[in-house]
Structure formats: C-alpha cells, structure tokens
C-alpha cells in the first residue's frame, strides 16, 4: 500500500514537472493568427506580455535555428524552433523529399548592412524632432466613484519618459464627471474594447470636437478673475459626499472656486442648488424626465430652483464645453470628461453627442 502511495506521489510529481517544463506560453492573438510575442524581433517593448519560456519540450533530434547578425532583415530572419523531424509525408503529386540534416552555413541568407555607410546627400537629411508631441495614453476607470481613473498615463517605451498632458487636469473637475447608468434597454449591441462594453442608443457618427461657448456670461473652466460680480452667490452643496469644505461661487451659469489670488471657473459641482439658470439652457430628456443642460452641467428643477445632477447614460446633448479631450478607443473616437464618455452621433442631420454607458465585462 505504502509502495502504491509513494508511486502515485512520484508519478504526480513527475507529471507536474513535465507539464511545467512545457511552459505556459502566452499567445498574443496579433492580427489574425496566434504568435507568441517573444519570438518577434527583439524584446525592448514596454507592453511585453509574458515571455516565451526558455524550457521548451526537447527531443533527441531537435534542430534549433537561430539567425545571427540581425541587422537589416524586416523581421530578424526566419526562426525554426519546433522540431521538423518525424513529420508524416502525405502522398501528394508534388511530394518533395527534404534532407533536414544537411549542414547549413547561412540559414537565413542574411546580408550584413554596413550601418555606418557614408551618405552622399547629407544636406537634405531630415532631423527628427526628439520633442515630438505624443498622445496622452489613458485607461478606463475600473472603480466607480474613483475620480482619477481617466488620467492614468502609460508610457509605451520605457526608454523614454515623455508624458504629454494636454487637458485641464484640475482635480476639482474630476469629482463631477461620473455617469448614472441608464435603466432603458439598449437595442444596439455594445461597442467592446479592452474588457469594457460601451452602450449607446445611436450609431457612431464622427464629427470633430469643437468646444461650445454659451454666450457672453459663460466662462470655460480655468477662466480666472480677481473679483466676482455683485450678482455672484455662494452655492449650497446638497448631499455633498466630498469632505473638502470648498466654497463655490455661482454667477449666471458659471461656478467659481476661491483661490489665493482670485476666483477660478470650474465645472458645476454635483448637488449645487442654485435659484436660477441662464435662459440659454436647453431642455434634454433623461430617462423620460426633463433636465436642463447648460455649460456642460445637467440640472433638475425643484422647489428651490435648480440642482446640479450627474450625467445620465443615454442623454443626448447638442454641444460640449471646453475641458474634454478626444480619445481613440479602438476604432472609434469619443470625447472624455473625467469618467464621462460622449459618443459623437448625428440626429436629424445635426451633430450631437450621446453619453455612453460604460460597463465592465463580468
């Protein structure tokens, strides 16, 4: 009995070692077919998935072909690691017998390029601008209510550390840009990217993001004044979950935060109760109720006037204020404000935006 148990243990351990020796190759489904990443060229990429294991299954007659002098080939030369021996020959009309054991001196017919060759036309040589503007790389915020997820900067190449921030990252604006999920049914399938589903009622129709200005009284975020008009009021924040006791001032549709030197225009804080909103505010339908939209903020009417409410997925708005940025998400380009994504759409020939319902895959 003891011998049988020991034998089982020994067998299990051996099998485990064998399985581990086969490796856990992470296949990257690059393009259409699978290609284990670490085989492709050199390994200087920052987003490198797990390397191909060194310990591959071995066989007695394995022939490993590794090209050397990888200079100018478009892919570093053809590599053959998998054993070609003992493959069955089909009985075909064009059957060819291959001598796989012939010695080769130059497996890849590679030519070595002299990379220091002199150029005859140096006058027209183009100098690369090393301070080239690069795109801001972002990730979807996975934690609802976390108000910083839209600004995670990722560098693709570790040999450079160029972070390009081209938006107003004022932290006061992040807390106001989350989305209430829509309860209405989406008949269109979601747009899927990176483990997230982007739901919209209307089809994607690209038009460039052009910030809208709501008349002479409205000021974009970041606008600074030393003093406010006498018509400005201090805003009461209803149900404010933010612990900061920041003092918001409101004047004719624009919200200001007091700073050391004056007042800075910021996005409308959710929960702000104001007595009136500008006449330029437009009615928008949200979940079969009417809201008002002005300066990028949504308002609900109540007994005391109007209260700022979060954006609701599915809401269609005609214009967007300054402070957003266009983000390429897969094949589509959205406009992002913090955690709110607006999909460009067209309604009756007019360019508009729909607030996207973003859900993480289970």
């Amino acid at each position: 009995m003891k011998l049988i148990l020991n034998s089982i243990k020994y067998f299990s351990a051996t099998a485990l070692i064998v399985i581990l020796s086969l490796g856990t190759t992470e296949n990257l489904n690059a393009q259409r077919l699978k290609h284990p990443v670490s085989r492709g060229g050199n390994t200087s990429m920052a987003h490198k998935p797990a390397s191909r294991p060194v310990s591959r299954p071995t066989s007695a007659n394995r022939k490993v072909t590794t090209p050397t002098n990888r200079g100018g080939s478009i892919n570093g030369g053809h590599t053959k690691v998998v054993n070609r021996n003992n493959l069955p020959n089909r009985n075909t009309n064009n059957k060819t017998t291959i001598n796989r054991n012939k010695p080769t001196t130059n497996n890849n017919n590679k030519q070595v390029i002299n990379r220091n060759k002199p150029t005859n036309n140096n006058n027209n040589k183009q100098v690369i601008n090393r301070n080239k503007n690069t795109s801001n790389v972002k990730t979807v915020n996975r934690r609802p209510g976390n108000t910083g997820g839209g600004h995670n900067n990722i560098n693709i190449n570790n040999s450079h550390n160029n972070i390009n921030i081209n938006v107003n990252n004022n932290h006061h604006n992040h807390r106001n840009t989350y989305v209430r999920h829509s309860h209405s049914h989406y008949s269109r399938p979601p747009y899927i990217f990176g483990g997230f589903r982007f739901y919209c009622h209307r089809p994607y129709f690209y038009h460039p993001y052009r910030p809208y200005y709501w008349g002479p009284h409205w000021h974009p975020w970041g606008y600074f004044v030393t003093t406010l008009a006498t018509t400005a009021i201090i805003v009461a924040i209803i149900d404010d979950s933010n612990d900061n006791n920041e003092e918001y001032h409101y004047d004719n549709g624009t919200y200001y935060l007091k700073t050391e030197d004056g007042f800075e225009a910021v996005q409308a804080p959710i929960g702000a109760q104001v007595p009136s909103i500008p006449t330029e505010a437009e009615k928008v339908t949200v979940n079969e109720t009417n809201n008002y939209y002005y300066g990028g903020a949504f308002y609900e009417q109540n007994a005391d006037g109007y209260i700022v409410v979060p954006a609701t997925a599915g809401t269609i708005v005609p214009n967007l204020p300054e402070g957003g940025e266009e983000v390429k998400i897969g094949d589509q380009t959205f406009v992002q404000f913090g955690d709110t994504y607006y999909q460009p759409i067209q309604v009756d020939g007019k360019d508009m935006y729909e607030i996207v319902d973003v859900l993480e895959d289970e």
Partner: protein, 240 residues
C-alpha cells in the same frame, strides 16, 4: 519501479500531445521556404485587398472591403495606408515613433514605439488593439506558430489564382480553418489567405496579395509622419 513510472509518465504526456496533431511535412517545407524568403528581405513593398465579414446589429452578415499599400525597411521602418469601407487610415513607424492617422476623421495618434517592426506591431496590438494588415506573414516564427496552434496542416496540391500557379495549404483547429495560397514560382510568396472563424458563425476574412516588390530602394522619409493641416492630435485608450 520509480524509474519505470517516471518513464511511463513522460511517455504518456508526450504521447497525448503528439496524438492530436497531423502536420504534413510538405506543407511545412513550403511554409518554411516562404518564411525563409520573407525573413531574408531587407525591404519590401506590396498591396493587399481584404474582405472582412462582420455581423451588423441585426445579426446580418456584412462584408467590408479594403485595400492597403504596405512598405517596410528592416529592421525598424514600416508604413501602410488603407482605404476601404471601414475608413481610410494609415500607419507610419520610423523606428522611434509610430503614428496612426485617420483620413476619415482628420485626427491622429503619435506614440513612442519599440525599436523593431515586430516589437512595435506586438506592442501596439497588445496595448491598443491596432491591427496591421497582413502582419502574420512577417512573424519570424510563422511556421512554428502554425504548427503549434493548428491540429492539422496539410498540402492539398496546386491551384491557380489569376492564372498563377500556387501551392494550396490548409490548416485547422477548433476555432479556425485557414486556406493559404503560396505562389509556386521561385519567390514563393503569399498570394491569398482565407480564415474561417468556426465559432463565430463561419465568418470569413480574406486577403489577396499583389504587386510584390522585393528589396526595393525605399526613401526613408516616407516612414516619417507629418500631420496634415488642421489634423488633431488626440489621446488614446489602452486596453487595461
């Protein structure tokens, strides 16, 4: 006894793996030859015509056609321009930066990139789902990857495409069935690829290759991207 058990377990694991494969040596020879020739190139130009099946939101099949012009100079220069039903766009990679420009939207993305064509393609595909037309054939381990990923690879004889004799190879696994036509002349280059996605309603992807130019002298400036007037530099979302 222990030694016997060890040998038995090794044999069992190896045998169970080998049982599921049916790899034709003639097909592998042709694929190796093609990959050898592609791997020996220092520059290349070619055109592709693609047809991609997709399901619309009503579940009906739509086929999207596109045409791409592609140029590469090893080891770190790549450009492609695509016009088609899914929009007009291009990629430019100069060894330092990779840019994607949408002609349809007049916006572009520029990113610092790894320092070879293949690592750039891998990196951009992994992080952002960029799809580079016909990139599969330029992986140095193309044949190995097919051998590892497909249960059956077989050479089915010769077929003609546009009057040109081609080797016809098929490969099958649980998810895909692929058909490959490789020209049977001295250069042995890809002529047509068809992929059938078995688990996705047999949707098809087809690529036809034309106008191959081997080791052409390509001016390096074509790989540098200069944004057109009024084009916007936009942000990009990474697959997290």
């Amino acid at each position: 006894m222990k030694k016997l058990l060890t040998l038995f377990s090794l044999f069992a694991v190896c045998f169970s793996q080998a049982q599921t494969k049916s790899i034709d040596s003639t097909a592998v020879y042709i694929l190796d030859k093609m990959a050898d020739i592609i791997g020996s190139l220092e520059s290349v130009k070619f055109d592709i015509n693609t047809a991609t099946d997709k399901l619309d939101h009503d579940g009906n099949l739509s086929t999207y056609y596109a045409m791409s012009h592609i140029a590469m100079t090893g080891p770190d220069k790549f450009t492609s321009t695509t016009t088609g039903d899914s929009g007009n766009f291009g990629y430019w990679y100069d060894g330092e930066y990779v840019s994607y420009y949408s002609l349809s939207e007049n916006n572009y993305v520029t990113l610092e990139a790894p320092d070879t064509i293949l690592t750039m393609i891998d990196s951009m595909h992994t992080a952002f789902d960029f799809k580079f037309p016909a990139a599969d054939f330029f992986y140095p381990s193309f044949t190995d990857d097919l051998i590892e990923d497909f249960n059956t690879i077989s050479y089915e004889g010769q077929r003609s495409i546009d009057g040109e004799k081609c080797f016809y190879i098929t490969a099958t696994n649980n998810e895909k069935h692929i058909q490959l036509w490789i020209t049977s002349n001295t250069t042995m280059l890809p002529k047509r690829l068809i992929i059938v996605y078995k688990k996705e309603g047999n949707l098809q992807f087809e690529t036809n290759f034309n106008n191959w130019e081997l080791n052409p002298n390509i001016p390096e400036t074509i790989y540098n991207f200069t944004p057109p007037p009024h084009a916007s530099l936009i942000s990009i979302m990474a697959k997290s």
